[in-house]
């Protein structure tokens, strides 16, 4: 397994196995900050968008960030322009900008909303694949979509027929049996699984003792979640045959290799990009070096 050879992720050819985690890299904003250097030195083998919802969302009130010993908590709250403006403004801009395939991450608060989102992107050639963020409640059932096998089955059964594009289901780690949810997704036609999303966490304002985050609770990411991510990727990889996009605290080639050895086909870098926008390129480089010297035999 020569890691720097192109990798196939459910039909999408990637130059290497390192992509970005949704919501942790905004190519359009980065273009403003870094100019043409961004496209020339683009660090990821595919670009995954921040979550797009049907209606525009302003997101949670600030403060939205809390720093941890080895990570952070965010309560961003999925701010985005909504489907319509994403299609008319961002999609054309991204198409001109990106040197790599585009994966659009979408989320709906009901199966119907997800279906509308999937249909809207189904015909757009610029979009290589869709990632379904199911870390939210289904307002119709009150259940967490991504935590219940039955919810995920029902969702996939509805949206799978709407597009020929790969559907990557992004799972929440805040579930009793993540492997069972992954199996349900596979059975209902998911093309790949991605995990982990952030782990629920909270912080108090040291001065007032009140919750610090505007959203009260938030999601933990970064190295602090790496060991939990490894366990979840491992157990999902035992449960499904479709490819896995593994993420959670990746900072180095070694971290990426561990996730690949635990069963991922591709890895995604999230929080580490905040510390260094070029982190993805570093991870890919280090991984190539390690792969050259190691026997990646743990994959089963």
């Amino acid at each position: 397994m020569a890691l720097m050879e192109p990798v196939d992720l459910c039909g999408i050819e990637l130059a290497h196995p390192v992509i970005n985690a949704s919501g942790t890299f905004d190519a359009i904003a980065a273009r403003r900050a870094f100019g043409d250097a961004l496209a020339e030195q683009f660090p990821f083998a595919a670009f995954v968008s921040k979550t797009v919802t049907l209606a525009p969302r302003e997101g949670n009130p600030p403060p939205r960030l809390w720093e941890l010993a080895a990570g952070m908590i965010n309560s961003i709250g999925l701010p985005n322009k909504g489907l319509e403006r994403y299609l008319s403004e961002d999609l054309p801009e991204l198409t001109g900008l990106l040197p790599v395939p585009l994966v659009v991450n979408v989320m709906g608060f009901s199966i119907d909303e997800v279906a509308q989102l999937v249909s809207a992107f189904a015909e757009r050639e610029e979009v290589a694949a869709l990632e379904l963020n199911v870390s939210c409640p289904n307002v119709e059932t009150g259940l967490m979509m991504g935590a219940e096998p039955g919810e995920v089955s029902a969702l996939l059964e509805r949206v799978r027929p709407l597009t020929a594009k790969p559907l990557i289901v992004k799972l929440t780690p805040n579930a009793t049996d993540v492997a069972a949810v992954a199996r349900a997704a596979e059975d209902a036609g998911a093309s790949a699984i991605s995990l982990i999303n952030t782990i629920r966490g909270m912080a108090l304002d040291p001065r007032s003792g009140e919750p610090w985050l505007g959203g009260v609770t938030g999601g933990i990411s970064g190295p602090a979640v790496r060991a939990a991510a490894l366990a979840q990727v491992y157990s999902v990889s035992r449960a499904v045959k479709i490819p896995i996009v593994g993420m959670g605290g990746i900072q180095s080639g070694q971290n990426a290799l561990d996730l690949l050895r635990s069963g991922a086909t591709v890895v995604a870098v999230g929080t580490e990009s905040f510390r260094d926008p070029a982190a993805g390129a570093l991870v890919a480089r280090e991984l190539a070096g390690l792969a050259a010297n190691s026997d990646v035999s743990f994959l089963t």
Binding site: A29, A33, G35, A69, N74, D276
Partner: protein, 271 residues
């Protein structure tokens, strides 16, 4: 609007050339040979190359945002100065650095100050460590640009030496005007109303300046602060409220025109 100076992509190493105390503050000078010359009001994300993370509290983990205090371009490329106040684990670690130590930096980032329209007199109003972006801006506008600076006490007021001919106010009256810098600003605007105010400082001061300028219909550009994880628009963590909704300060700011703001108070910012 002037084009912003874009940053090289990715974090780069920068050698610390000099560290000097300036009252309660520390001025760090470092070499950024390949980096561009930043604009006044732009900022950098800084990390110490070693021992970032660790210590009892085990923070910092994320880089920290700092306005550039001053920039020079010489034969060896760009040199940058930063003004630091030790208020927590990140600034503490950075304040420990000395000549030869390595910083990791990303920048220049964000949108800086806009030059005054013809016929408008620039006026700098700063508070505490917030005087940093005013120094480089005074370098660009000219040493004669008046600066009104407020500090908590005399040790902090030593920072006033970083600008030319600054008028100083202190909260405790230990030096300069005994009172708030907004009192100096009020007098100044009374005598010469056709000003553009460039301001940076702690949130309550910024808000007082904003309110005063709004009352007088005086143009103002505010360099705000907000907790930042990335500095380049990736995390959506640094949002501040504007009349048109929450915007990412690292991309839309840190300098924001007062006309866009209902308040300069940002939840979670300041210390």
């Amino acid at each position: 609007m002037s084009e912003r100076t874009v940053a090289p992509f990715g974090r780069r190493a920068a050698r610390v050339l000099d560290r000097r105390r300036c009252g309660s503050y520390v001025v760090l000078r470092c070499a950024d040979p390949e980096g561009p010359r930043p604009q006044g009001g732009q900022f950098y994300m800084l990390t110490a190359a070693e021992r970032w993370g660790g210590g009892a509290g085990e923070r910092p983990f994320l880089p920290r945002a700092f306005s550039v205090l001053r920039a020079r371009t010489g034969p060896g490329g760009t040199e940058l100065e930063f003004l630091l106040e030790d208020v927590g684990p990140g600034t503490k670690r950075l304040c420990e650095l000395g000549p030869g130590d390595e910083l990791l930096l990303l920048g220049p980032l964000g949108a800086g100050f806009e030059p005054p329209a013809a016929g408008r007199r620039p006026l700098l109003v700063g508070g505490g460590v917030g005087i940093a972006p005013l120094a480089i801006w005074q370098d660009e506008l000219g040493a004669a640009t008046p600066a009104l600076l407020g500090f908590r006490d005399a040790a902090r007021a030593k920072g006033a030496a970083l600008l030319h001919a600054a008028v100083v106010a202190t909260d405790d009256g230990s030096i300069g005007h005994h009172g708030l810098v907004t009192e100096l600003l009020e007098a100044e605007l009374d005598s010469s109303p056709a000003a553009v105010v460039y301001t940076c400082g702690p949130p309550p001061m910024l808000e007082a300046v904003r309110a005063l300028c709004a009352e007088r219909s005086t143009e103002a550009q505010l360099a705000l602060e907000s907790g930042m994880a990335c500095g380049f628009g990736a995390c959506f963590g640094c949002v501040v409220p504007t009349r048109t909704g929450l915007v990412r300060l690292c991309i839309e700011g840190p300098v924001i025109d007062a006309s866009r703001l209902e308040t300069a108070i940002v939840a979670g910012a300041g210390h």
